[in-house]
Amino acid sequence: MTDTDRGTQRDRHSAFSLFTQQSLPACKPVLTPEWVIMTFLFIGFIFIPVGLVTLRASHSVVEIVERYDIGCVPEPFRIDKVSYIQDDSIPKNCSLSFKVPKYMKAPIYIYYQLDNYYQNHRRYVKSRSDKQLLHGQNEHGISSCQPVEVNNDRPIIPCGLIAWSLFNDTFTFIRNRAELKVNRKNIAWKSDRGHKFGKNVYPFNFQNGTLIGGGKLNPTIPLSDQEDLIVWMRTSALPSFRKLYGRIEKDLDVDDVVVVHLMNNYNTYSFGGKKKLVLSTTSWLGGKNDFLGLAYVFIGSSSVTIAVVFTLLHLLSPRH
C-alpha cells in the first residue's frame, strides 16, 4: 500500500469526511410494538398517581365565592344601577355574611373577582408608561398613555387607562364581633415592587378629571408601596380574573359566621360585568382547580387502555 492509499484510508474515517459523505454514526430507532407498549404503560404509571396527588391537593383547598354586585344595590336603585353607582351622594356601604364550610388554615387569601372585564384588550394593555412608573416625571415617552395623559395641561402620574381604572371596592371582615385583620402588604410580585415601580415616584394630578375611572391614590405614598395599584396593573390573561386583595393570618373554624362590610364603589354595571368576593386557602400546588388532576388521570388511564388494546392487537394479528 502506498502512502497516498493509507492517506485516503485515514481520510475515509475522519470526522469531516464522514460529515460530507453523509455517513455519520447514527442511531436509527424503529418504533417497535415493544417500545410503544412500554411507553404507554410508563405514561400511565406516571400520570395516574400524579393526577391523584394533584386532585387531592385541589380538594384540600377551601374556597368561598360570594357574588355581591347585585345584592349590594339597594332595592329602589336596582332598575338603573349605572346611575346608582355614578351618584356620589348615595352611600355605597353594604354587608354580606357567609358561613365557613370547612376548617380554613391561615393564611387565607382574599381576592376580588371580576367577570366580563377585558383587561387583556390591546389598547388597554398598551395604555401605560413603564418609564414614568419607574422614573417619574422627567421621562418622556408617555404618549402611549393616551387619552389619560395630561389633565389641565399638567401630567398625570401614573398615566394610562390601567391606572385610571383602579379597582376601589374595600372590604373589612368581622368574625364574632371582632375584626379580622387583613394583611395588605406583600400582595404584589417582588419584582414589580422592586423594579417596575419607582421608590421616589409619587402620584400627582391623579384622578382629578371630570371622568372618574376608579380609585384615588394617596399622594404621599410612593408607587413602589402602592400595592393595590401594582397588583391591578399586572394585567390579567382572561376576561374573568381574580386579583389578590389581602391575607387573613388567622384560622377560620368550620361554621364560623363571617360578616363582610364592603364599599361598593367600582362601576361594573355599565358593561354587564360581575363582581365577586373570594376567600381561599392554598395548597402546595395553588388554588382550587380540579382540571389538572382529572386530566392527568384521564390521560393516564387512556394510555394504559391503549397499551392493553395495542398488546392484544399485536398478539392477535401476526405481521406477515
Binding site: 383547598v61 399586572r234 388554588g287 405481521r319
Partner: protein, 404 residues
C-alpha cells in the same frame, strides 16, 4: 412514415405479452421524423418501446428529441452527457447531469448536477434523489405544522381578548419563535435526514418509486400535518388556560396573569414542536441531538437572559421565569401534561401505521431492524409486495433477465 406506422402496429400488437421492443434511428432519419407532421406519431412509437437509440444525431436534434419527449409526455426528463455536443440537450431537459472528464467541462458548466463517472448516476438517483425527495417533503409539511401550531394559539387567544389583536406572548417571543426556537431542527432534518441508509436505497431500487408516485407529499399528507398543527394548538391553548384559570397559581396565592399564561403556553409549544420533530425523524446523529435538545434548553436560557434585561426593555417578561414560573410546581406539571397530551395521538398514529400499515421505506426499516437484510428470499417478498405499476420497459426487462 410507413416504417413508423408499421413499427407502431407491431408494438401495439405484442404489447399485451410484455414483449420488449427497441427503436434505433440515426441522425438522417431523425431529421424527417422530427418534422411537425410526423413527430407525434414518432413519439407514440418511441414511448411504446423499452429503449430508443438515436445515433449520429446532431446537438440540435438531441435537444429537439428531449423537448419532444418533455412536452409530449409531460413527464420529468433527465439528460446526461459529457461533451460539448450535449449542452443543448442538458439545458432542454428538466434535469441535466454533466459528466466531468475526458471531453472537457462544457457539459458540467451547463448542467444542474455534475458527476465524475457515469456509474455514479445510479447512486445519484436512487440514494440522493430519494433522500432529497423525502427531506423536502418532510420539511415543508413540518414547516406548515409548526407555524400553524404557533399561530393558531395566538388566534385562539384573540377570542378571549375580544379580538383586539393583543398577542398572548411578549413581542420578542413572537419574533424569535421562527428564528431560534424551531428553526435549527428543521434545517437539520432538511439537510441530514435519512429514512433508509444508502446501502438499502441501492438494494431496494423500488424505493425510488416513492418519489415518482409522489407518495410522501400527497394532499392527504399535507392536510394531515396541518390538521396536526390545528389540533396541537387547540390542545395547548385550552388545556393551559383551563388549568391556569382564576385560582391561585402558586402556594403564595398569586394569580396567573397574562405573562404567566403566555410563558406557560410558549414553553409548551417549544416542547411540542421539537419533540414532534424527534418523533417524526428516524435518524439521530449527534447533530440532531444537539439541535433538538439544545433548542429546548436554549428556550429556558433565553427566558433567563431576556428576563434579566431591564423592565423598560423586557416589559412583561421581566423576571417572569425566575420569579413566577420556575418556583411554581403547577408550571412544570402543566408543561409535562400538555406536552404528553398533545403528542400522544401522533405517537399512537405512527405506532399503528408502523405496525399494521407500513409504507415501503418503513418495511425496509423493519428488515434492517430484524436483521434479515441478507436474506434474499425475504427481500424478494418485500419487493414483490410493494410492486407498483411501472412502464412496460421495467417489467419486460425483468422478465427477460429471468428467462435467461
Amino acid at each position: 412514415m410507413e416504417q413508423i406506422v408499421s413499427g407502431k402496429s407491431q408494438v401495439s400488437a405484442l404489447s399485451a405479452i410484455s414483449e420488449a421492443f427497441a427503436l434505433i434511428i440515426d441522425g438522417k432519419s431523425l431529421a424527417y421524423a422530427l418534422e411537425d407532421d410526423m413527430k407525434n406519431i414518432f413519439l407514440e412509437l418511441a414511448i411504446g418501446c423499452a429503449s430508443v437509440i438515436c445515433c449520429r444525431s446532431s446537438p440540435k436534434q438531441k435537444a429537439l428529441v428531449t423537448r419532444l419527449v418533455k412536452l409530449g409526455t409531460g413527464k420529468t426528463t433527465l439528460a446526461i452527457g459529457d461533451g460539448a455536443n450535449d449542452v443543448g440537450m442538458l439545458q432542454e431537459a428538466d434535469i441535466g447531469i454533466g459528466i466531468s472528464g475526458v471531453e472537457g467541462m462544457q457539459a458540467v458548466m451547463s448542467s444542474d448536477v455534475a458527476i465524475a463517472q457515469f456509474r455514479y448516476l445510479e447512486r445519484l438517483l436512487l440514494v440522493h434523489g430519494h433522500w432529497c425527495y423525502r427531506r423536502i417533503s418532510s420539511m415543508i409539511c413540518y414547516f406548515f405544522y409548526k407555524n400553524i401550531a404557533f399561530g393558531f394559539t395566538i388566534f385562539l387567544y384573540e377570542a378571549y381578548t375580544s379580538f383586539s389583536a393583543q398577542p398572548a406572548y411578549n413581542d420578542w417571543y413572537l419574533t424569535l419563535f421562527n428564528v431560534f426556537f424551531s428553526s435549527l431542527p428543521v434545517i437539520a432534518m432538511g439537510v441530514f435526514d435519512q429514512d433508509v441508509s444508502a446501502r438499502f436505497c441501492l438494494k431496494f431500487p423500488l424505493l425510488y418509486q416513492e418519489g415518482v408516485q409522489n407518495v410522501l407529499f400527497s394532499w392527504r399528507r399535507i392536510v394531515s400535518w396541518m390538521f396536526n398543527g390545528f389540533y396541537s394548538a387547540i390542545i395547548i391553548f385550552f388545556f393551559c388556560s383551563r388549568a391556569l384559570e382564576q385560582q391561585a397559581f402558586n402556594d403564595e396565592g398569586k394569580i396567573a396573569s397574562k405573562d404567566i399564561l403566555g410563558g406557560t403556553m410558549y414553553t409548551c409549544i417549544v416542547w411540542v414542536v421539537n419533540l414532534q420533530m424527534a418523533l417524526s425523524i428516524s435518524y439521530f446523529t449527534l447533530i440532531q441531538h444537539i439541535v433538538i435538545w439544545g433548542t429546548i434548553a436554549f428556550w429556558y436560557v433565553f427566558q433567563l437572559a431576556y428576563g434579566a434585561l431591564p423592565a423598560s426593555f423586557s416589559t412583561d417578561a421581566y423576571r417572569v421565569f425566575v420569579e413566577a414560573l420556575a418556583p411554581a410546581p403547577s408550571y412544570w406539571f402543566i408543561t409535562l401534561f400538555v406536552v404528553i397530551a398533545t403528542l400522544t395521538p401522533y405517537f399512537l398514529y405512527s405506532a399503528i401505521q408502523m405496525r399494521f400499515f407500513p409504507m415501503y421505506h418503513e418495511m425496509i426499516q423493519w428488515i434492517r431492524h430484524e436483521g434479515l437484510s441478507d436474506d434474499p428470499l425475504y427481500c424478494e417478498m418485500v419487493r414483490q409486495r410493494s410492486i407498483r405499476p411501472t412502464t412496460v420497459g421495467f417489467t419486460a426487462r425483468r422478465a427477460a433477465s429471468r428467462r435467461q
